[in-house]
C-alpha cells in the first residue's frame, strides 16, 4: 500500500498565537486556547427506550435527560435536545466510538453520526472568564446557575455555540468551523476589557 501522509489543519490553527496572546495580555485573567479535533458524535434515540440504556451501559454513564452533561473517563455526553446528544471524546477516537455506539443501539430506531469536523472547541479559563462570556451571552453565568458540568446551546456574540462548564471554572466553547474565526475575533477584542490593571485587580 502506498505511504500516505495525513495533513489535518484545525479551523483555528492560524489563530493559535492570537489566542495565546490573550493570556499574556490579560495577565492570565482570561486564557484562550483551541482544543482541536475532539471526537464528536451526534446521537439520536428515544431516551426512554432500550437503546438509551444500552448506550449508557456501553459508555458507563447515563444520558442526561435535560440540559447538562455527563462524563465517564475521556467521554463527555452533552445534552442537545430531548432525543439528541453530542458524544465528545479524545481526538482520533471517532471510528472506535462510533462502532461502539452503533453496536450498542443495535436495531433500535436511532442514529449515530460522526460530526467531528462540524465544530472546533475553545478552552476558556481565567478568573474573568465568566465576565468575558457575559459581554456577549444572555445566559445567567453566575456559578450558582451555570457551573461545572452544565451545558447550554446559546448565542455568544450572535454566533451559535455549545457552552460547557468544565472543572476549575473553565469552559468549553464548541463553535462551528465556519464561525470559529469570527468568534475568535470577537473574543480577542472583548478580552481587551481585562488588560487594564484596574479591572484585573478585582
Amino acid at each position: 500500500m502506498a505511504e500516505q501522509t495525513m495533513i489535518r489543519r484545525s479551523p483555528l490553527a492560524p489563530a493559535a498565537d492570537r489566542l495565546a496572546g490573550v493570556g499574556s495580555a490579560t495577565g492570565g485573567a482570561v486564557t484562550l486556547a483551541e482544543v482541536p479535533f475532539l471526537t464528536q458524535l451526534n446521537l439520536r434515540l428515544d431516551p426512554t427506550g432500550p437503546a438509551a440504556e444500552a448506550v449508557a451501559a456501553e459508555l458507563g454513564v447515563a444520558l442526561p435527560t435535560g440540559p447538562g452533561s455527563a462524563s465517564a473517563g475521556e467521554v463527555t455526553v452533552l445534552w442537545l435536545g430531548p432525543d439528541e446528544w453530542l458524544v465528545v471524546g479524545a481526538p482520533g477516537t471517532e471510528g472506535e466510538l462510533e462502532a461502539r455506539l452503533r453496536s450498542a443501539v443495535g436495531d433500535a430506531h436511532a442514529s449515530v453520526v460522526d460530526v467531528s469536523a462540524q465544530r472546533t472547541t475553545l478552552l476558556l479559563g481565567g478568573a474573568r472568564a465568566r465576565d468575558l462570556l457575559a459581554l456577549g451571552c444572555a445566559l445567567d453565568l453566575h456559578p450558582r446557575s451555570f457551573g461545572t458540568g452544565d451545558c447550554a446551546q446559546t448565542l455568544l456574540a450572535r454566533a451559535q455555540v455549545v457552552l460547557v462548564g468544565r472543572e476549575a471554572g473553565e469552559f468549553w466553547l464548541l463553535v462551528r468551523a465556519s464561525f470559529a474565526a469570527y468568534l475568535v475575533d470577537w473574543l480577542v477584542d472583548a478580552s481587551t476589557e481585562f488588560t487594564s490593571t484596574e479591572l484585573t485587580a478585582g
Binding site: 446551546q153 450572535r158 451559535q160
Partner: protein, 92 residues
C-alpha cells in the same frame, strides 16, 4: 425583548427563537377536495386576536424544538407554554 420559556431549555431571550405563526392549524384531511379559495384560506388566513393567541415557536439557537406558546398580543405576557401535540390549555 421577550424572555421565552422553552419547555426543554428554560427561559431564553427572544433572539434565540424563530416565530412559527398560529398554532393548531390542522392540515386538511383531504387537500385535493378543497377549492382554491378553501386552500388559500388554509395557507394564508390566520386569526389576529387582540389578547391571548396560541402560536408556535422554534428554539432555533438551542434545542431546535418546536413548541406552543399562548401569548397576549397586547402585553406580550406569556400565559402558557406547552409541547407540540398537547391541547391548548384552558386559561382562567
Amino acid at each position: 425583548m421577550m424572555l421565552i420559556p422553552c419547555p426543554w431549555c428554560g427561559p431564553r431571550e427572544e433572539a434565540e427563537f424563530h416565530y412559527g405563526g398560529q398554532a393548531h392549524v390542522a392540515y386538511p384531511s383531504d387537500p385535493a377536495a378543497l377549492s382554491d379559495e378553501e386552500w388559500a384560506r388554509f395557507l394564508f388566513f390566520r386569526d389576529n386576536p387582540k389578547g391571548p393567541f396560541a402560536e408556535r415557536w422554534n428554539h432555533s439557537a438551542s434545542c431546535r424544538r418546536w413548541f406552543n406558546v399562548v401569548r397576549d398580543t397586547v402585553t406580550n405576557e406569556i400565559l402558557a407554554v406547552y409541547k407540540v401535540g398537547a391541547p391548548r390549555p384552558v386559561l382562567a
